[in-house]
């Protein structure tokens, strides 16, 4: 091993997988070997078996569907407003001066702390869930996008001016394309955070969703189901992250050169 030396693709995959194997092996040894009480931690085999029961008999797929839709719904709403606002703030300093202090303040407000208030305002329906995701992602997105756009290389902007671009041309043909790959990366990152908010939102006042299943299972001391729920979230997160990465690489081939 040498610092910063790349590892071969095959070896990289093998290393990545081997940790998962190790993780499951330690878990299996601890539970099946009887070192940990079943009340606190189910073994992997029971976990997968009850996971199958959840999916096949108890309609867990529908819960997953609900959670995915909430995350995507809230996230898309936040992105639709945050991207244009972030671009405007990054491009025009007075707009940034107007919004930035409030957004900086608001992004430290924990989304989960809004849940009681949102239940009061929006009830316990879908609107409340979407609102939690929205609050959790919106302010982060705005700020990071504004910084990205504002950090566009000045010499590129100057070059565009000397080529006859007007102010709108600078925004449309320099600032936006220059920032696009980093903005896409920001979206990918914040989508990951949105997943953590949705579960919190579903722990309180929900009748469907992965978070709701987890709360129900807690009452039944069904640690196997809780763990299956958590692993499901992890897998969906992993898959959506990979898909996002792939899409970004395909869309912004120039940035990876």
């Amino acid at each position: 091993m040498k610092p910063l030396r790349e590892v071969e693709p095959g070896a990289k995959l093998a290393l990545g997988i081997s940790f998962f194997v190790l993780f499951f092996a330690v878990w299996a040894a601890a539970t099946l070997g009887g070192y940990v009480s079943k009340t606190f931690l189910a073994d992997p085999i029971t976990m997968f078996r009850s996971g199958w029961t959840l999916l096949a008999e108890q309609g867990f797929a529908k819960d997953i569907g609900y959670t995915v839709w909430r995350v995507l719904g809230g996230f898309v709403l936040a992105a639709v407003v945050a991207v244009p606002l972030g671009v405007a703030m990054g491009a025009y300093k007075p707009i940034e001066a107007f919004f930035e202090p409030f957004v900086s303040f608001a992004r430290y407000l924990p989304a989960s702390a809004f849940i009681p208030l949102l239940i009061l305002w929006a009830g316990i329906g879908e609107a409340q869930k979407l609102a939690v995701i929205f609050i959790g992602s919106f302010f982060q997105l705005v700020l990071m996008i504004a910084v990205t756009v504002g950090g566009t290389r000045r010499d590129l902007v100057e070059a565009a001016y000397t080529l006859g671009a007007n102010d709108w041309g600078i925004v449309r043909r320099v600032l936006i394309p220059a920032a696009a790959p980093q903005v896409a990366e920001t979206l990918r990152l914040v989508l990951g955070w949105a997943w953590t908010y949705v579960i919190v939102a579903e722990l309180i006042g929900a009748s469907q969703g992965i978070g709701h299943m987890i709360t129900d299972s807690q009452a039944l001391l069904a640690t196997d189901q809780i763990i299956f729920g958590i692993i499901t979230i992890g897998l969906i997160g992993l898959v959506s992250d990979l898909a996002f990465k792939r899409a970004n690489r395909a869309l912004f081939r120039w940035a990876a050169l």
């Binding site: 590129l156 565009a160 001016y161 080529l163 043909r173």
Partner: protein
């Protein structure tokens, strides 16, 4: 009437955090005639780039004004094309798209854009690289595209701010020959900023030597070497004489700069 007229243009940068203001450029007069190839030579930090940026409209003079064909310059515009020292190709556009940037901004039809781009790609010797992205090109190739991009816009005057400064010596010499041959063909008016004596003499029909900061024009000499110039002109006695004169001028100023920094 001269094409570009710089009249009493000076620039003072305000002090940072209450510090003293910096006089970067003393009031300067310079007339550039049609088809002139003028090099501005000066030690680093002498305000020569500041002057060029003011002509481009990227910086504003604290005094004086710049006239292009009699009209005062207000802000940057397509009639003053510029090539920068840093690599300023848009990394998300291909070579072809970079060259078409200004044409598209003008609203020119796509087919016409393509024709013009093809012509200038051929002229800077990059045929076959139309669909490459800037990161796939060497520094010299990137600057050739930047030159083609500026020329494709058909500016009245071409401003070059040490465009070959970041290139190695061999590439730089080739780029000078390329630029010179393009100029000999199109006779575009050129204002070229450099700190390289050979470069300043080799291409120019007039060379303007700047003093150390605060910059002012110290000397101006006509380079009467005949065009078209071959690179072998650099080894002629006349070239050496001119070089001796200019080197003496610039050396005195560089010494002043060095002393200021102590």
């Amino acid at each position: 009437m001269s094409r570009l007229s710089i009249r009493g243009v000076g620039r003072t940068f305000p002090g940072v955090n209450g510090g003293a203001a910096t006089l970067a450029l003393q009031p300067t007069d310079l007339d550039v005639a049609d088809n002139d190839f003028i090099t501005i030579l000066g030690p680093s930090g002498c305000g020569k780039s500041t002057l060029l940026r003011i002509v481009a409209g990227l910086d504003e003079p604290t005094q004086g004004e710049v006239l292009l064909d009699g009209a005062p310059v207000r802000g940057p515009g397509a009639e003053r094309g510029m090539v920068f020292q840093s690599y300023t190709l848009f990394p998300w556009l291909t070579v072809q798209q970079n060259i078409c940037f200004g044409l598209r901004e003008k609203g020119m039809p796509g087919a016409e854009q393509g024709e013009i781009a093809a012509r200038f790609i051929a002229e800077v010797g990059l045929r076959g690289f139309e669909n490459h992205y800037p990161k796939q090109l060497s520094g010299g190739m990137q600057q050739r595209v930047a030159l083609a991009r500026a020329l494709a816009n058909d500016p009245k005057i071409l401003l070059l701010d040490e465009p070959f400064g970041a290139l190695d010596n061999q590439t730089r010499a080739l780029m000078q020959e390329l630029l010179l041959s393009i100029w000999e063909q199109h006779r575009k008016t050129v204002l070229f900023v450099t700190h390289d004596v050979d470069e300043a003499i080799f291409m120019a029909n007039r060379c303007v030597v700047f003093s150390a900061r605060p910059g002012r024009i110290k000397n101006e000499l006509a380079i009467e070497l005949p065009y078209p110039r071959h690179y072998t002109v650099k080894t002629t006695p006349r070239f050496s004489e001119l070089k001796a004169v200019v080197t003496e001028d610039i050396r005195a100023e560089s010494l002043k700069t060095a002393q200021m920094e102590h």
